[in-house]
Subunit: 329 residues, 4 copies
Amino acid sequence: MTVRFGVLGAGRIGQVHAKAISEVPGATLVAVADAIEAAAQALHDQYGCDIRSIEQIEQSDDIDAVIICTPTDTHADLIESFVKAGKAVFCEKPVDLDVARARQVIETVEAEDGVLMVGFQRRFDPDFRALKAAIDAGRIGEVEMVTLTSRDPGAPPHDYITRSGGIFRDMTIHDFDVARWLLGEEVESVMAQASVLTDPKIEELGDYDSVNVILCTASGKQCTITNSRRASYGYDQRIEVHGSKGSVSAMNQREANIEIANGEGYTKPPLLNFFMSRYTAAYAAEIAAFVAALEQGQPTETTGQDGLRALELADAALQSAKSGQAVLL
Amino acid sequence: MTVRFGVLGAGRIGQVHAKAISEVPGATLVAVADAIEAAAQALHDQYGCDIRSIEQIEQSDDIDAVIICTPTDTHADLIESFVKAGKAVFCEKPVDLDVARARQVIETVEAEDGVLMVGFQRRFDPDFRALKAAIDAGRIGEVEMVTLTSRDPGAPPHDYITRSGGIFRDMTIHDFDVARWLLGEEVESVMAQASVLTDPKIEELGDYDSVNVILCTASGKQCTITNSRRASYGYDQRIEVHGSKGSVSAMNQREANIEIANGEGYTKPPLLNFFMSRYTAAYAAEIAAFVAALEQGQPTETTGQDGLRALELADAALQSAKSGQAVLL
Amino acid sequence: MTVRFGVLGAGRIGQVHAKAISEVPGATLVAVADAIEAAAQALHDQYGCDIRSIEQIEQSDDIDAVIICTPTDTHADLIESFVKAGKAVFCEKPVDLDVARARQVIETVEAEDGVLMVGFQRRFDPDFRALKAAIDAGRIGEVEMVTLTSRDPGAPPHDYITRSGGIFRDMTIHDFDVARWLLGEEVESVMAQASVLTDPKIEELGDYDSVNVILCTASGKQCTITNSRRASYGYDQRIEVHGSKGSVSAMNQREANIEIANGEGYTKPPLLNFFMSRYTAAYAAEIAAFVAALEQGQPTETTGQDGLRALELADAALQSAKSGQAVLL
Amino acid sequence: MTVRFGVLGAGRIGQVHAKAISEVPGATLVAVADAIEAAAQALHDQYGCDIRSIEQIEQSDDIDAVIICTPTDTHADLIESFVKAGKAVFCEKPVDLDVARARQVIETVEAEDGVLMVGFQRRFDPDFRALKAAIDAGRIGEVEMVTLTSRDPGAPPHDYITRSGGIFRDMTIHDFDVARWLLGEEVESVMAQASVLTDPKIEELGDYDSVNVILCTASGKQCTITNSRRASYGYDQRIEVHGSKGSVSAMNQREANIEIANGEGYTKPPLLNFFMSRYTAAYAAEIAAFVAALEQGQPTETTGQDGLRALELADAALQSAKSGQAVLL
């Protein structure tokens, strides 16, 4: 069986997914849609796929699944219509910035018995999977405390911040998903502290750039998340999980594994500076996992529910940062 | 000038300080006091110092300074009487478990124009000092976020837990002091989450074994503290400081800098397993700093105020952990 | 311009190169030849290329360049006939196990004004290129001493050893090429020590499994090479270059960048265990470099001369190991 | 029992040993001798020991053992006279620069049934001992190849070079001893390559500054030694031992275990820059081992024979470097 794909949105992330489809055995890129003709044309030129409108893709018999890479505010509607059209859907996070709307979408997917995978690529990163495998193999005993550190090289453009739902919903949301994945229990309590330290304009826009969050589950397992919108040394992405028998951590990645020694000391290069180069393998692996789930008729590894839960945690964190109170879920 | 010392309490930490005194040029150990004769005798045998009672030391003309290493509940009274007797006082933390009493002691010290140094040895650890020096030299720009990880190899005996004031006052208190030292601003808000994950008996005793704390200053600088009473891999003591221009971290220490590679992977030895071996150099350096301050008539690097502030943060953390609300100072 | 390729030999390394061709913009795989039909068929199925005989490829007008991945004893003849047929040739090392014959081939290539690139993929490894770039940028001053460590996870099959020309010609040859590349000067003196430590059968076959070599250039720059046929911890590939102003090293690569800590210590996974997974990026990059050279009409980065020189060093090392004398070139 | 010491020579290394004696339980520093009065006086002031002439120390009934820290050319005579005087002798390496004379001294020691420990402090370094313990515990199986890297921050003064016997006898000699210790078999063959790369004056003085050596034992175990007289990044001291089941290495030491990350990368401080700070613990441990051997009437861990063997290897290496031939022992 071959899964025949349509890609909605041929921007940066759409290109990443198109490349992944071209490399996964059992997947074919049939068509791409994009309001910007040149963007769609570029994918056509590279992979020989058709250029169609979103509506045409929805009605195409030769398309089994779509990857939604369009702007956030179109996600909910597109998921609903494509699920109703009988297509399997892979959608970049978030389902919607509004929890109520996201919940509605999940219900629609369930009512239609549809397939919805939400793009939390970190779960597919080879290092993070090796860390998870070590936990699952009992190498560290019972998980007790998770420490997540995510720092971006720099803040996104101001106009993105106004549309993104803020740092908890556009950045920390990935950590919320990773936290749920690693804690192995649902979070019951969220505490957050948030500041603006890198750019006063971010405060004017009503957002934060430096946040810390503590999550706690029913049995008392905890997770701390540290986020900054600025890191001079690159894209900082670390996980540490402390358990009853030991600890496991995943280290950062740099472009070259070299070290220069001189009178100043021993210096390794800065980190990979961009989420796309850091998570190249993860993006490919998540599409491969989506294809494998479809082929085997299994549930996808991340679902609409996962997208919803992460969003709920983001909302709770924002509320806690504003109120100074733990928010109970 | 030579600083002539009396050591009050010849237990584990008293022995450490006696050794430090014997090695610092400009310091002499004149006398030791301990209710347990054999303990005092051991120090006498090793360093040739007199054995005297606490009262005798207080009245000794040939003693300039004392190191208080007696049980916590004697600290406040001893500080007050020795300061009144004109002795410079170095006291192990805490001044007292009760903030009001500790505040009273600080006032007495100030009224008497006395010298009180509180034993926060971490500030004197060579690695942590190198980290602080890097910050002070502007290597990472403005401090934004501090991350402190402290995990003990195992919990203290149950009866110690009942006397210690609990994890925030006996363990996190060191991190509170380090946080204040590194943030360079007073903390205004404290959030804490606390669980019992390693031993249900600890819950019965009314304490916690796994805690996370977020501190925030007036300008929005933040610090997270992670503590566990159990770490299979040794005594885990890490600092990371993230600033506007970069980051600096201090790594853990192990007994031997070797690595064994085989089919299982590349393995380095566990960490030093005991706070006294981890902080050997720090204990010596803090006594040297105390002596240097006395010789030069300068204020000591840590003071009673530092002890009080750390205690206030511990109280606030406990209150936050219980209430689920940020505590403002 | 597109470079149209024929691949001779569809075994393990032929497959690697076919994949590389399929991914390099400006390159197309037109045809494959292999005595084993199923092997050729597999490449046809994957890349849609023709299946032709070696002779047909030689005479094909629609083929500009060939990749020679056939057994070693066919290399020399194939290079000569394809160069005479006007094809650009990329040949896996060695040109020939016999220096005289290799020299003859180089002469033929030069007489025909042909293009011959010899496959020393290590020069194209991203880490090693970053190391070389640091040297070229003056980061370590003048190169003084190069240290190369190459250990294989296990010895090749015994029958390969009898055909390979021995450890110096099949394994150390890569290090000889890297040494020349990094020293920046031709080697004048070769000293070698060789033993059999892992398998007595290797001694019966007249080969060694554990060797050390010291190279020296006219100006006194030195290089040591350490090789073993056995390493329990994976495929060990390290470079260290010491210069007048500093040092640069390239570290080993492992499958996952994680670390597990417990009572046994801190353990990272073993190394990548196979030269093909270790040098995946290098194999792709060398084909890209070959294509780029052809497109721009520039000399290839490695040439037949490089292949010849490395072989001469291998012969010299073998002679030194047997005689106990430095061999001068 | 207390071992009563005389120290001959109150220079840099004499001071190190005097301090070690003062800290080892069971050892007392009774007297020091030095031609320079101020040097002897300094030790007297610090440790309260007598100042005596070498002859007086030889005749002192209250002295059991001496530490010889005088210039190299006095070692042989002093060892002989003190052994004859019934004193246990600890002598800094070398016994003598001349192998024949050294052999004579060893014979005298044996004839007198005397005790002679030669100061190869590296064997007592805690990291190197942990490495050796891992080997002895079978962690890496049979030792196959040893790799020793020793680089000094800078060359010694020119006049020292003229007196030291050259790089093999003053610097590599420590590596020869470590090689013997770790190989666990006597060396049968020595190959060496030597250049002058850092300072042409060193060539004028008839010495080298950059050398590589390959040692081989009867069973084919090998050891490579890399030495340079210049390393911009500090005092480089590494050991790696490769065995049939794995590998063990000892890493370099730096002053502080911190790391600074910024746009330039991740930088750790340079190495400890001086052999005395690098080997502080080793110097103390070797004196403790000497005292322990005397107390228990056991042979010392390093002996005159070890000094002799290392010197023979140095001579062989020099001969090989000059002749280009392996020297068989």
